[in-house]
Every structure is written in C-alpha cells, then in structure tokens.
C-alpha cells in the first residue's frame, strides 16, 4: 500500500519547525497546510506577494485582489503583509525562506530537479520554481514514485530540462522518503510507506541508493 496524497502531505509536514517561513507549491504541497501541527507557528509565503496566507474564504467572501500563487482565492490573517513581486523574490533568493515544498517530474541522485517543461509537449513555464530551488534554505520535493506508464522518476540523471542542479534536500514519494542532501552525500532511503517492500522500491527506482531505514 503506497501513501495517499494526504499521507505524503502529512509526511512533508513533519519537516516544518516552529517559527519557519515556508513556501508551498501547487498540488500536493498545498495540502501540507492542513497538517501543520497544533501549536506550531508557521508563516506561509505566497510568491505573488504575501506573507501569512490564511485559509480559503467562505463562499461569498472571495476577494479578486487576494489570491495565492495557484490563483486560488485566499484570506489574510491579522499578521499578514503584502509586497511586490520583486520584494517577494528578494525574500526567496536572499535565503530568508526556511523551507520550500514543491512538486516534481524527475529527481536525480545528485539532487537535480526537473519540474517545469516536457520538450515537444505543452510548455507552461517555470513560474517561481527556479528561484525557489536556488534561494530557499531547504528544498523538499513531493511526487509520485513512478510515471503513469510505470517509468521511474528517481533517476541517475534527469532527462527533462532542469529546474535546478543539486538543489533537492529531501524527496517524499508515495513509496518512501529519500535523503538527497543536494547530492553532497550518497542517496539514502530513510523510510518506506506502510506495506511497501525494499524489493518493490528498488525495482521502481533507477537511481542507486543506500538503505538507512
């Protein structure tokens, strides 16, 4: 039994620490906000220009001037602040954000991440992902372990255009958790999803990894 999207998000939430400023990407990373431990103070940054993102609004209270980076309506908190895109990325690039949790298409054992482009297919753009992986202190990627076709996504080297080289600290998939440490130490499997065997995860991984369960 692999982890569900919510179980992956809950696992990613265990990377949060009290006092952290955090940027959450679109998709499963957005769900991490639902698993912030009670009593822990975490401030969510939205790269379109807001610190202190609140929950989604009640129906009828949506504000067209208040959206997150996924273009969803959100609300503010008493502690929130607004700023320009240049200020937002100064925070990101300048190393002021403690943790970025984002999705991935491919990750390599060297800590490379590809998540913005499939050549020859629809090209949407990198948005803020390249800035986030270049500037945020700790980068956690959450993604399915294999493609829908069954092809591995944790590779010796990414085949897709990179978002960043040597930028991933930790990878959480539906099958387990890998310490990557930006490629500075050997790739290590540190947790297996319940019911997933070592043989199964080895068979579904192209990269070579140590086992440190």
């Amino acid at each position: 039994m692999a982890w569900t999207r919510d179980e992956m998000a809950a696992r990613a939430a265990s990377e949060l620490r009290d006092g952290f400023y955090v940027n959450l990407g679109i998709g499963i990373p957005t769900l991490v906000a639902n698993y912030i431990p009670a009593g822990m103070h975490v401030t969510l940054q939205s790269e379109n220009g807001m610190l202190g993102m609140g929950p989604f609004p009640y129906e009828g209270e949506e504000d067209a001037d208040l959206i997150n980076a996924g273009k969803q309506t959100i609300t503010e908190l008493d502690s929130s602040s607004y700023f320009s895109s240049a200020d937002s990325f100064a925070m990101i690039r300048g190393g002021h954000i403690a943790l970025s949790i984002l999705g991935g298409m491919q990750v390599s054992e060297k800590g490379d991440l590809a998540n913005w482009m499939v050549p020859g297919k629809v090209v949407k753009g990198m948005g803020g992902a390249m800035d986030l992986v270049a500037g945020v202190k700790r980068v956690v990627v959450v993604m399915d372990h294999v493609e829908k076709s069954g092809a591995p996504k944790l590779l010796k080297a990414c085949t897709l255009p990179l978002t960043g080289a040597g930028v991933v600290d930790l990878l959480i998939t539906d099958l387990g958790v890998f310490e990557i440490n930006r490629g500075k130490s050997p790739l290590k499997l540190t947790a297996l999803a319940a019911g997933v065997t070592l043989d199964e995860i080895k068979a579904k991984t192209e990269a070579v990894f140590e086992v440190g369960l």
Binding site: Y58, A64, L66, F89, V122, M130, A134, A165
Partner: protein
Amino acid sequence: MAGKTQKDAAEALAGVLFDGMTIMAGGFGLCGIPENLIAAIRETGVKNLTVVSNNCGIDGFGLGVLLESGQIKKMISSYVGENKLFEKLYLSGELELEFNPQGTLAERIRAGGAGIPAFFTKTGVGTLVAEGKEVREFDGELYVMERGLTADLAIVKAYTGDAEGNLVYRKTARNFNPMMATAGKVTIAEIEHLVPIGALDKDNIHTPGIYVDRIFVGASFEKRIERVTTRPREEKASA
C-alpha cells in the same frame, strides 16, 4: 504644467502606441491587471507587440484578448499555463516566447527601472535559462548574468491614486505593478478610486508619482477570479 489625469483609457493612450513597441503589463494571473488599458489597446489595432507580463491572461480576458486579435508578436513571461490559445499560437510558431523565472523577471524590471543594466543571480544556473549567458563565480558559488529590462510603455493597475500620480495598490493585486511603473519610458496607471491631493497617507504611497505619466479612473472593473476556492461555512462554528 499639463495635468496627468486623463478621461479614460483611450485618451490616456493617445500618441504613445506604435507598431513593434514593447509594453509591460502589470498583474499576476488576472489579479491586478490593467483591464481597461488592455481593452483600449485592442481597439487601436496596434500590432507586432512585445509584451512583458508574468502571465498572458486567459482565453477571452486580460492579455488573452490581444492574443486573439493577433496583436502580440512576442511574450516575455514566467508562466502561461492558463491559456489554450497561447499554446496553439506558440506551437504553430505564430508567437515568440521568452521564459524568465518569475523572480528573475521581477528583478530585471526592477533593475531596468533603477538604471541597472545587468545583475547576477543564482536562479537558473545549470538550466536552459543560463544558456548563452555569462556565468561567474562569487564567493564559491555560480551566478548567471541577467539584463535589466525597460519598455516603451508600462501599463499598471492600482487601487487608489491622485492627480500627482501617487499610487496605492491593494493586497496581492500589487505584484509586478510597482516595478513596471518604474521601467516604462511612458507609464500609464489605471485606478479604481481617484482621491484629492493630500488624501493619501504620505508614508504609505507604494509608487511615488514621479514614475507615473498619465492616470485615469477605469470605466469598469470586471476583476475576474481565475480559481474561486472556498471552504464550507459550517467550519465557522468550530473555528
């Protein structure tokens, strides 16, 4: 001195548009876009535009209407995933596209408006973005050189403004607008509310009037929301 205040978008645009020009347009998604100016630019038929904007609107709204009318030759953006016509035009070669990482785009515009021709950033090192650009080592880390960016015209949207051109934005509708206001040879601001000189809190003006050449109150603001997302109301009792 001739006043900056204009009657409407068409009057504000008089004499500044020409074929082949570069236009910066503020906004993130549909949030904080100068929707009246975009509609008026469509009416003029000006073409072969290079448009600098984080996104390109959606089908039928925002900058999407200038795609439909075939007035845009090239986009400089960070993300264009919300627009089906964009994909079609790009894949068929009718539209040029330059992708910039969002923070690099914001900083290029900030730098351009501040008279800084180039800067070095970690963003994009080791990726397609760095190809053909100078990469230099500082303090043991690699950085890529990016150029400052200016435009013939910047069109921005603010919430409140005065006849001096002082602007105040509202919530996340600020986004790219303040930097773009500094980087246009001509900058036109459309606002929701014009207030008398002296009514704005001088300590809280986001864009000082020096950057704004023309200002007008938009005739109407649709302010469309791309992804209305809500939570159930019954949560309120337990919150």
